[in-house]
Amino acid sequence: MGTLLIRGGRVVDPSQGIDRLDDLLVRDGLVVAIGNDGTQPIGRADETIDATGLVVAPGLIDMHVHLREPGREEDETIESGTRAAIAGGFTSVACIPNTEPPIDTQSTVEFIHQKAARADTCNVYVVGCVSRNREGKELADIGQLVEAGAVAFSDDGAPVYDAELMRRALEYCRMFDKPILAHEEVLELSRGGVMHEGLVSLLLGLTGMPAAAEEVMIGRDIALAEVTSGRLHVMHVSTAGGVALIRAAKARGARVTAEACPHHFTLSDENLRGFDANFKMSPPLRTAADVEGIIEGLADGTLDCIATDHAPHAREKKMLEIDRAPFGILGLETAVGLSVTRLVASGRIGWPRLVEAMSTLPAKILGIARGTLRPGAVADITIIDPQMTWKVDVRSMQSKSVNSPFDGWTLQGRAVATIVGGRVKHRLGGP
């Protein structure tokens, strides 16, 4: 495979506490060294990338991606979804098992791994179902799924509704040290809802989903995590109240982690005023105060990481009446731009925290040997131009589903190179 030298970039690797201008050397798919260690004179690398003015980070990891395959290939496939991932700077994704059939057997996990290998783009980690057939009735064969390679468990798309089953899942997964990724929603409170319940939904006459629908369930699951010592990971936290619950739980020492999605720290329910189903997602876009709460949660580490909840739906499905259109938004190709624009360029967090939220901590939560540039680590690397401004154009996206509420937005910050296992999988401009 030879050698790859990334020269003169700002190397940001929170796993080693590194944030400095330096070179990064890769040989045979592994990180050799940060800085010139003398073994590889610069002039003799097989390939060199000039990273002057760029951020060089351990490969980004999106731990919440719906690849839709098997079952909904009209929306996305493993191939198209992972192409979207590398275009967005992600070297690894974790795919959520609400497919058809759901990922609740070893053979389905194997199918995903094979498809991912054939696509040969980024790493695909599999999240298995908590419950058999995602029905919320009995536990899936979690131990066998772990053997097949599942890194976490989730019934996302829906909450694990039965509190006793959730308790068992948290308890059972302790022996594998795997987290339960929880979609938090009290369905009776959000029934028929299409957007956040608040002044805007009141004015538009649209059925609302109150913040309480999410917060009540977060509260329940934190209590269950504390009683079981199980590992709870709260997905797509969207309310300031949810952030407060998690902050308090962490302060008590509960084994709770959490993620935030770029749309939840960028958009609010005001964006629904045009009745555009591209702004319809679950949990819904909340208020400006919630957006601020999410950003604070990311800044102080209450929300460990950024995940996209990339949830593709074919364009025609999103062009329906807003109550008939499905929930979901594309995320992979806009995550870096939104995060840099909303969080870093605005001065709310620094680069080390951003890289931690998009690489170091997702790797840690999933327990995968990624998210680091330590010598000997697999050379998954994302190079980001922190200054580049670019215009989002859905027609040039890699995802199969051509729709985004951010179409036409100008963002700052973009992945210019995505390197997976030492191989450059995506390169924007330049040689």
Partner: protein
Amino acid sequence: MPHLSSDATPTPGWNHRHLLDLERLSGDEIRLLLDTAARFKEATDGCRRKLAVLTGRTIVNLFFENSTRTKTSFALAARRLGADVVDFSASGSSLSKGESFIDTAKNLEAMGVDAVVVRHATPGTPHLLAQHLDVGVINAGDGPHEHPTQGLLDIFSIRERRGDLAGVTVGLVGDIAHSRTARSNLWGLLKLGAKVILCGPPTLVSSRWREVGVEVSHDLDAIVPRCDVLNLLRIQFERQNTRPFPSVREYAHLYAMTRERLKRARRDLLILAPGPINRGVEVTADVADCPQSLILDQVTNGLAVRMGVLWLICGPREDASIETAATPAEGRFV
């Protein structure tokens, strides 16, 4: 009064292609709509005669939700102006074959219609159509969101009796949560300077309405003596996921407009109800038929308002104006 000119230029003061809601109209635009309706009412001898001002135009009634009164009212209004009317209802159409409503509307547009009057159970559907169609879109009710011609005709009926709306106190009573009539009334009334009180149980009247400058009350007895107008809104059982009050009996006990309550009202109180009314639920029969009731005025005024709206949306024909068309000697009656 606006000048309705006899050339093809748009009516001064009106530059909207569609009528989607009242929230985004100015007070002047709402006054123009009401004034235009008043001229049509006068020129048609109380909405009884025809005027040939929209001859050759085609209006589609695109109703995805059942309606009798509003659909008939729009159809009559269009015919009174000489326009052709096509009815398109969702049942039995290609919608049941899976066609999207946008495709359906585009098909109708391709047939050369001039305006689409749309009713749909989902808020925002007319707004979505307006983005995809090149013809005028008139919202005839989008779920619980707005029903602008209903709001206009209610306000028109009040204005006929009271003149200026400024300072008039209007109580909207009942199922505010699910009422498009309430939302359209509220914006129209606020923009014309009226005071609005929303009244009903907290499960149907959110206290957040205060944030847009209206008063919220849960006590009908307390507000009745203060109101110049009461608009009694129907309980929309069909839009409720769960029952927002214990029983119809209890609701009627707390919120029905009864003769007893009427005794404590101002003598010149006006009573409106957008209909269809549930006698005995939001209003008792004797009150519905009392002299203060404008319920039948509302129906006639609905025609006037819809004529005015169709005229403004479809645009005046080059050789047509209300004044010339209204002269029988010119033979413009169709």
